[in-house]
């Protein structure tokens, strides 16, 4: 009892082959799109790898790139097969390869689905990488004369200006680290000495933020220093003031940016996956329909196409049987998942 049997006459077979040929070439374009999406994500991650401690995982863009390339290769091959399917002589040389090829296609579709899922699920690891990276980035903000870290100040400033964010979780993160280098502190001043003595590590901590945290939408000129001291500024209440600095933390801003990128890529990958599944199903029907037309006299006649020759449990049992026979070492043929070859040897 075949699974999902469909009867094909000559015209329908030809139309199926032509439609599949067109769909395969469209799918090559989709593969190129996947490749460029993966490349774009990789470049975006590389651009900001300094604030992620250079330890970000490139798994998602790498897998998108490889899936795009594989899709191009498989689909152009399938397009060639469909083009030759209309000519019995050319088709004869492809015939023995079709079954293993279809198995590989099924595996490819499963892998593509997993990659699409990964696009949605991997934001958790990105979040922890960002938190770590931003924390150390802010710690090195003042080291503008240390070789290897001298650009961290510029990177963090440009990041806060571009993404409209301040600090790791909020602007108060800047109160807990010394972001002003010792080179620019006047150690003879009493105020500096008091601040340094006021904490265990001897750091110069201020309730102030760098200029890049300033919000241009504020109606008053930016207040950067003595943020918690209401009396230091005229008509200022730090509890209610919202427009002075960016309220969002940079971890949040970067995470939502990368999440939206990866989500949209995941949606595109799902669409491509659906397209590929349709192509694989169509190719299977074409394969079985042409199997039914084994002799040239029947070329004009009707044949039947199906997805699986027997129903699902029977096919699964036959597959396990052939694996067992392989395990016993009787089969010489390589490429084991070929249930059709078992009766030949037997």
């Amino acid at each position: 009892m075949a699974l999902l049997k469909v009867t094909f006459d000559q015209k329908k077979r030809v139309k199926l082959a032509q439609g599949l040929w067109l769909m395969n070439w469209l799918s090559v374009l989709a593969g190129i799109v996947l490749f460029s999406l993966g490349l774009f994500l990789k470049i975006e991650l590389r651009k900001r790898s300094e604030v992620m401690n250079h330890s970000e995982s490139h798994f998602v863009p790498n897998s998108l790139i490889s899936m795009g390339l594989l899709s191009c290769v498989f689909n152009s091959l399938a397009g060639k097969i469909c083009y030759d399917a209309l000519d019995p002589a050319k088709y004869a040389k492809w015939k023995p390869w079709l079954k293993p090829y279809l198995a590989v296609c099924v595996l490819f579709n499963v892998a593509l689905f997993l990659v699409a899922l990964c696009c949605f699920l991997l934001r958790g690891s990105l979040e922890s990488t960002l938190a770590q990276g931003l924390k150390s980035g802010m710690k090195y903000y003042r080291d503008t004369d240390t070789p290897g870290r001298c650009f961290m100040k510029k990177t963090i400033d440009m990041l806060q200006i571009e993404f409209k964010c301040c600090g790791n979780n909020g602007f108060r993160d800047w109160f807990e680290i010394q972001w002003i280098s010792n080179r620019y502190l006047d150690f003879s001043s009493k105020e500096v000495k008091d601040r340094i003595k006021s904490n265990v590590d001897g750091r110069y901590l201020v309730d102030g933020v760098p200029f890049s945290c300033c919000n241009p939408n504020s109606p008053r000129p930016c207040i950067q220093y003595q943020l918690t001291n209401n009396s230091a500024h005229y008509s200022y209440d730090h509890q209610t003031e919202e427009l002075n600095l960016w309220v969002r933390g940079c971890r949040d801003a970067l995470l939502s940016y990368y999440s939206s990128l990866m989500n949209s890529m995941g949606v595109v990958t799902l669409f491509v996956w659906l397209f590929e599944v349709t192509i694989t199903v169509g190719l299977r029907y074409l394969h079985t329909a042409l199997e039914g037309v084994s002799s040239p006299e029947e070329a004009e006649g009707e044949s039947e196409g199906w997805l699986l020759e027997k129903s699902v449990p029977e096919t699964w049992k036959a597959f396990l049987e052939s694996l067992k026979k392989l395990g016993k070492g009787n089969q010489v043929e390589a490429g084991g998942a070929d249930a059709g070859q078992a009766p030949e040897a037997g």
Partner: protein, 347 residues
């Protein structure tokens, strides 16, 4: 009537003319499309920078005219490509016969006129940018503090974003900020003696300080940004005036914006020049092709030689014919067919 600039065109040169014309028409369409894109981009840039250009500055006329000229050039190119393709195929030419005449007139008059006008604007207008920017930037800086005044409440945000994005400070340098009151009076403490002193120290009663807004800060500086008391060499510890000053952006926004807009205008101008050249070539070729094919009476494949020309007669003859035509037209039955476009009919 002697035809103007006649050119004998046997079959082979006619075919080569049509093929070359097809290529040049597509090039013209490409150039017209690129001009469209470039002028669209310039329009968008001007829309963003609208607050910093004085309203009386006529600079925005350039991209608008270039947009129209590019569209007409694109249409002429597409029409020319279709006509030259059709002229190689006897079956497809007849419908194009009627279209070619109006296409040539439109292309010459409208297209050529717009292109020449746009070229003139591209040469003359960028000079007016200087005053326009001077006035516009001056107004924007003066209204920086007016964040509650309707009509000017966005000036602060726009100036800050301009200085952040284009990496510039003030009009010609950071000292421009010393001459404007950029702190709103709402946030000045009237009981503070320093504030009172500063306000009384100048005629207009402005609160002037030797400080700049945060958007002038340069992130490349190794030390946290120094924004206030910039004229006092003793105000900030360890400030070495001999070192190159990375603290604030060194460029003035006037220079940056002027360079940006002028380079866009010169790119647009060179594209307009290329489009103009291509349009002249295509229109000339189309005219010769049209008159040569009319000489064959619309039969393309004729082996005979014909003459292509620009005008059937000299200027005086043309005016006389036009006058006669004007006199003949009101009569009920026109005695003779207009002698302009039809050559000797092939019997």
């Amino acid at each position: 009537m002697a035809p103007v600039l006649p050119l004998v065109l046997p079959l082979q040169p006619r075919i080569r003319l049509a093929q070359g014309l097809w290529l040049f028409s597509w090039l013209l369409a490409l150039a017209g499309g690129l001009t469209l894109l470039c002028s669209g981009y310039l329009l968008i840039q001007l829309w963003h920078l609208g607050t910093f250009l004085a309203p009386s500055c006529p600079f925005s006329a350039l991209p608008q005219t270039a947009l129209a000229a590019g569209a007409v050039a694109l249409g002429t190119g597409l029409g020319g490509a279709g006509a030259s393709r059709a002229s190689l195929d006897a079956a497809r030419y007849p419908p194009w016969r009627g279209v070619l005449g109006p296409l040539l007139v439109a292309g010459t008059a409208v297209g050529g006129g717009l292109l020449v006008f746009a070229l003139g604007l591209a040469l003359g207008l960028p000079g007016s940018l200087d005053e326009g920017l001077e006035e516009g930037l001056g107004t924007a800086l003066a209204h920086y503090k007016d964040t509650e005044v309707p009509g000017h409440c966005h000036a602060k945000r726009l100036v800050d974003e301009l200085q952040l994005r284009h990496q510039c400070c003030g009009r010609h340098g950071y000292k421009d900020w010393f001459g404007v009151q950029w702190v709103s009076s709402r946030y000045l403490d009237p009981s503070d003696q320093d504030v009172v002193d500063r306000i009384q120290s100048n005629v207009e009663g402005l609160y002037l300080i030797d400080g700049v807004p945060f958007s002038c800060c340069n992130p490349h500086s190794p030390r946290p940004c120094l924004q206030s008391r910039l004229s006092d060499p003793y105000a900030h510890p360890l400030f070495d005036p001999r070192q190159p000053n990375l603290n604030l952006w060194a460029q003035g926004c006037h220079g940056v914006l002027l360079g940006h807009l002028q380079s866009l205008a010169s790119t647009l101008g060179s594209m307009l020049a290329v489009t103009f050249l291509l349009q002249v070539l295509v229109l000339l070729g189309l005219r010769y092709l049209q008159t040569a094919l009319e000489g064959l009476g619309g039969v393309i494949d004729g082996e005979g030689e014909t003459q292509g020309y620009l005008f059937p007669g000299g200027l005086k003859d043309m005016l006389k014919t036009a006058w006669l035509q004007g006199g003949v037209a009101p009569r009920p039955a026109p005695q003779e067919a207009p002698p302009e476009e039809e050559g000797p009919p092939e019997a």
